[in-house]
Chain length 305, copies 5
């Protein structure tokens, strides 16, 4: 597999990482239809844990089968598939070597009020299951934020020493207003903290034009920073990821109509983001519809649509 | 590299430390334009974690790039560069051996109310990244102060056994009035606790003439201690650092005008302090302006201005 | 060094301890002008941590220098010097072998309300710094008392396994009335718990004639126990220390006039206590005055004054 | 990457292995021009250690550069590249993700008479360097054979737990006649022992028609086993590898003319072997000549020549 | 310290190493008068262990003092000082930070016949003593060669993980003729094995025109390899060090006249070697004479003489 110049440039930014972690990053970045472009689309299926199976898989019951998601990611030519322990265990053998997997090491659920997550997997699990990366969520702003960061610190250090990549979901909540959770300044802050914690790939929500912190508002105004359009806001998040030295992908959020999903992807692309992490908007649709939407999504990142 | 008499005298004060920690202290004290003088200026860039990237780097957007700060510290002839894990990882290879680095092992953020910090790095990280020292913040006065001190104890012991130096940021908060956080007696107390905890280099804020504790006030009055001018107050902090047996540097605090920064440096110098740790006041300015200010700052410590 | 019969008898009481711990006890008991008498005077300098440097060293600024205290203990012919990590580190090399040191492994400060202390040193530190003993404070009566006792358990076990002696500061507070903290029954109780926790040397405050617990009061009355005079009360504490099988020393408390300090020492001696642990009342006086007072103090324990 | 049916069938034979090891086997079996066919060609460059650099690289001096071999394997569309620690370290970053690597964990050299090898790498090295497999040589028949097998046991167990594949070089020597080292029965025996030791991929020499052990000879004669032609002998080795349930590759041995190399490959293919491991016969030739020969070799395994 | 382009190019060859090891390599390559040139001269003083103090230091008795050698290396502007545990311990504090040190972790002596060495230090020692690298000798060809390599493997892995550099002395002996120990092919072989074992800096003896192995002789003849002059032979060793991707230095061998030492240095320079490791020929001369010779030696590497 000839690694493209584009991907080699991205890898070079991870300058203190060992070749093992870089090789796993390369596997993700060279996989599927976007392989070699520096763009990526990840299929995450942790909603069963987060929202329960009925809400997650009820709308498209074939999605109750863990194999369904491996196959969907593969057939759509995506870059990687991310899920918690049981989902990976249930398909890792059938799909060994077929698609890079990301073992999500912590998970929340709607039955528990605490703004925290349970650690439900280990680096050892990721190795035995042949995963390319570990995934971990932090909730900056929650009372447990420091504990979650310390859990991440230990797991990321172990993963890196053993040649895995580290993907961090950074979702602000707790001390913030509802609007603040997706505010421009807060998304940038969340992305930056993930980078500082050593993430190779950062996953945040798309920012709105709302600004939560008065001090940030002042800076935006003084600097006349353009945060009016979504591409401009994506560009601000990219800046917060070490000025583009770290890969950043954006989540699609709640299920929505296809046009919105695709418009967002265009904005991510135009703002210099690396791609999408898109779950509910795919597996809750009928398979053919999902594949069609993913085809367009990939084409957008390829610059064709 | 001939270690100067001045630096050898400073090293001799760390009499129970092993040669490894002293060699790393020597690297910091012999680096840059102040090398050999016993004075030092450290560039810390943990504000991205502490205040968010927008407030920190928005005013001078080239500072979003981690390499910018390594290069700034190098070009300004500073003594060391301190930052959290991700910032160091993103430049440690490109700047290997060029400038001593201090891996900040814990970090706070404005989204979390708790007067605590998350431990986000390890002594092992500091070694693999070629750092000269670890950095750690304690908040004397906070409910978590004892926990933070115990975290520091463990990390400092490991760092010292492995030949690294230990830099402690001691920032009182929690049980104190707002004025109390920078009160003369409290700054001295914070510095002294850092020394007692085994810090090689102590970092505190510049004290005001306010005195928080009645018992301390009584002593100052009885002893007719001069705390009227800033140099005199710096001298009191130096005394609290084992009568000058430990290196103590002072933070510049919030961004301010150049004249104030430089006046403070003169006071630190005249009071016998070892130097400045100055972040926002440098990297938030345009590079040329920052370099010019740092040039003057260094000249002040060299006794030229 | 011929160990005196008196000291050999004291050592024999520590019958399950290994020879290493006994040798370190012997070093303390054979040191200085009281060497061989079974009496001892310890200089503790943890007030910098406990009350801050201004209150502690401001009244006699030469005491800011850690070497000052080593030298004072040595020149006064005292038995041992006790201090937290940084203070010992700053002089352990210069005074290696000169005087037994006790590394105080936990410390409180006045900025923190919690009736607890931070563990700030380790048995490993005590060994590398050549200390004869570790020191540890417990606060019987505080909400954290059980945690502190468990910390002590672990540290004492490790210290004993490695041949160090264990000194326990037992200071009741929390659930008690202000008078109760130094009540006759409570001092005895605190001393007894330290003995039960395995202390080699126990340090308590001098008891007043106040009795906190009704049940204790009843017993004193039924038994017509003499607790009227200070010597009688000291004798009751000695009884609580396994009927004199454990060394017990008494603290001088807040700075006071010389006559009071000396009167208390006579009471300790006459009640069968082993000696004094006296900090503020020495290092906050001018050196010559402190040496003079310590000379008298030692003479009292020698039975000369 | 769609795993072919052929490769999925091969993976299914490793039925007790975890998905991680299978994914790494899949990476090797899906790589390069033979990807998906169940055939493989591995480039091994351990001859520098085994025979010295002059004999190994002198004939084609550009091969002194470690990058040369990564590039050769990649350009020829081979399945994997195997080498000792230093050779992998010197190119693992430049070629991260480009081609599966096999870290050879032990090595012999011609200066040492003992029929043994030194363990020169670890499973941890394989992980940090991003390798797909570890490689290990055993010498059945040598006095150290049991020690080597026990070393392999420990390393293979660790490698499998961490999701790596295990490649075993099984080279009989020591108690055998020179002819016996490549005897039909002995090659089959060596391959079988490697399978019994848990190898995923087995590497042996091509067997001659010579039979070393009288008991084996008797069986061949009684069973009228066909061992006359090389394809038939290859088939016997395949049988010894759990009747084809383990991948077996054959070494090219000493440098020889191209026709011989290619004839051997045809025999391996026709006998049902999985492929070649071919070092000296490639990198000791000029690059263009080597690429041409490897092109033909690959075509043979593709059934085209 | 601005790292020169030349040194940055050398560091880039250590592509899988972490920034810590590179920073320590940079310290050696940026030290002294050759700092930044890519050339280096190391002072090794392990002859006291290897040959006894009388033979080693008797000719210049001031050299019995460990400080003498630190000072000599420093005054001559050399790149590093290498010695066994005790020698480093005896000066590490006085010279902390002044010159990079290499802790030689194994040593032989003339009283023991076995062609082996005792491991006499640890990576932990190197860290606490502030060393930039560990040093280790292997004897390819000896009966203990494989054991020595396995010791090196474990120590090198630990050193690299902790950010130290690794220097390997590779001295063939045992199975070789006396001439063979410095034969062209054998020196190249020894250097290559050190590279394969992961050495950052390789130290071998200067090769003679003698060729030990018939197979190597054949290659040299077939390839018409120029091994007639010393520079050409040095070039062959450089090739064996991954075609110049690893730093290689040559030992001066037994004490000899100054002209020979300097001629050899010219040959090392002209052949593309990185420098000299020169012990006996310096410290057995009177200090002024040694300094004068080292001045010329350094000038040769600077291309001035």
């Amino acid at each position: 597999m000839k690694i493209t110049t584009r991907v080699r440039k991205i890898l070079a930014n991870y300058e203190s990482d060992n070749p093992g972690s870089k090789a796993n990053l390369a596997r993700i970045l060279m996989q599927g239809r976007l392989g070699g472009t520096g763009k990526l689309v990840i299929l995450p299926v942790d909603q069963g844990f987060e929202h329960g199976p009925v809400r997650s898989f009820g709308p498209n019951p074939v999605a109750y089968d863990p194999h369904y998601h491996f196959q969907l990611a593969l057939d759509a030519g995506l870059s990687a598939y991310a899920a918690p322990l049981g989902m990976i265990e249930a398909g890792a053998d059938s799909f060994a070597g077929a698609i890079p997997t990301i073992l999500k090491l912590n998970s929340a659920n709607t039955l528990t009020a605490a703004k925290n997550q349970a650690v439900t997997g280990s680096v050892g699990d990721a190795l035995r299951l042949g995963c390319a990366a570990i995934g971990f969520t932090i909730y900056p702003g929650s009372d447990q934020a420091y504990d979650m960061m310390e859990e991440l610190r230990a797991l990321a250090a172990e993963a890196k020493a053993k040649g895995l990549a580290v993907v961090v979901w950074s979702y602000p909540r707790g001390s913030l207003s509802k609007d603040g959770e997706t505010a421009m300044d807060i998304c940038a802050y969340a992305a930056h903290m993930a980078a500082l914690l050593g993430a190779h790939i950062i996953k945040v929500k798309l920012p709105t034009a709302f600004v939560e912190q008065p001090e940030a508002k002042k800076v935006y105004e003084q600097q006349k920073t353009d945060i009016a359009g979504l591409p401009a806001r994506v560009a601000q998040v990219v800046k917060a990821c070490f000025d583009g030295r770290r890969v950043v992908v954006f989540s699609g959020g709640a299920a929505k109509d296809t046009a919105s999903v695709l418009d967002e992807a265009r904005a991510i692309r135009d703002g210099g983001g690396n791609g999408s992490i898109i779950g509910r908007n795919t597996f809750q649709r009928p398979r053919e519809e999902a594949l069609k939407m993913l085809d367009t999504l990939v084409n957008i990142y390829l610059g064709k649509q």
